[in-house]
Symmetry: C2
Subunit: 211 residues, 2 copies
């Protein structure tokens, strides 16, 4: 199974670099100094490769999202948690640079993508609940549902947003900026502590970015 993994590794790299649409199965074969026929022996085209890559992503995302967040309490914990999620997404960024496209083109992928979305939603819900229990935030029930939607949307479209805006930020910088953007959405529901939390977040962001 070594060739199979080599194919997946190089495909992920190329897809992230050039975008999924820019590459044909033949391009991938060329990058591996491999004949198209040989590639087709392992994967019957681009689609199964993408499916296999999504499998990898799914697995790692499940570990992150279903694992740790019982331990997420402080703002700093939350920061790290969101950072890890975004980093994982960044490793498979070609899925996110044009979600709509992929979901439209590969219906099988759409289903699985929605499952990941649901996992994100549950994780956020659970983290918010912890914050509420500790009286670190309080929010109207209706607004809470909308907030979760917004946060899921942020986790899903931050890379597209960056593409559209055309700001040419490095990966780590983009991730830090997005963590901040994510966290700031929670601040207004932190009541009197909000102001202090905001300052801490901005300070933390400054540190991270200048590092």
């Amino acid at each position: 199974m070594k060739t199979r993994d080599r194919i997946l590794d190089i495909s992920l790299t190329l897809f992230n670099q050039e975008g999924e649409a820019a590459l044909s199965a033949v391009d991938i074969a060329n990058a591996l100094d491999m004949s198209p026929g040989n590639l087709y022996y392992h994967f019957k085209g681009k689609e199964p490769i993408i499916e296999a890559l999504f499998g990898r992503f799914e697995d790692e995302m499940a570990i992150i999202l279903n694992g740790t967040h019982g331990a997420v309490e402080s703002i700093e914990d939350n920061w790290v948690f969101v950072y890890i999620v975004l980093e994982e997404i960044y490793d498979f960024r070609f899925f996110y640079r044009n979600v709509g496209e992929l979901v439209g083109q590969y219906p099988a992928l759409a289903k699985r993508f929605r499952k990941v979305l649901a996992m994100k939603r549950r994780a956020i819900d659970s983290v918010l609940s912890v914050l509420e229990q500790r009286n670190m935030m309080s929010i109207d029930k209706r607004l809470r549902a909308a907030l979760i939607d917004q946060l899921v949307s942020t986790l899903t479209f931050w890379l597209s947003f960056d593409v559209v805006e055309g700001t040419d930020r490095s990966g780590p910088r983009l991730i830090h900026d997005t963590v901040l953007r994510f966290m700031l959405q929670i601040v207004p529901y932190m009541g009197a502590d909000g102001q202090a939390v905001l300052e801490r977040m901005l300070e933390r962001h400054r540190q991270m970015v200048s590092a």
Copy 2:
């Protein structure tokens, strides 16, 4: 110039129905009972057609965004304003169903898309300013910038979000839901009035949806 317009009309319809990627120049010609060669006489391929369609969109968007919003004061005015913007986007929805893709594929479009983005940003900024002047909302300067980002992001990715979520809502329903989602993001900054405004918005949304 009549054939030219017929081409643009049918292209817009088809792109919205099937997606930009799903259609070739030949498909468009077929839909018009026209030979591919004839189509190429008017537009040298798909790209110039898309550029021309974006020109239409740009023009109408500029009228909406730069025009009315001096008159936007009450919550109801805002609701209508956002509704009109979303409706216009919906008319050219193929641009928005996978923004990342189009922007990546047609660099010329990217620039123009960013201009529209900037127009949206200015319009939102200006509306928020009005609300602030009337003491209908108050918001920390740093959070304000983030809020505007979030609102622009909502206006840009609501259609992609719908595609990804796979909820099969009708156009008008989707637009109403999105207006609500947009407006709810402002509520937390309305202070004591927030609760009442929230109820009014939800009530309005119920009316709109059941109509």
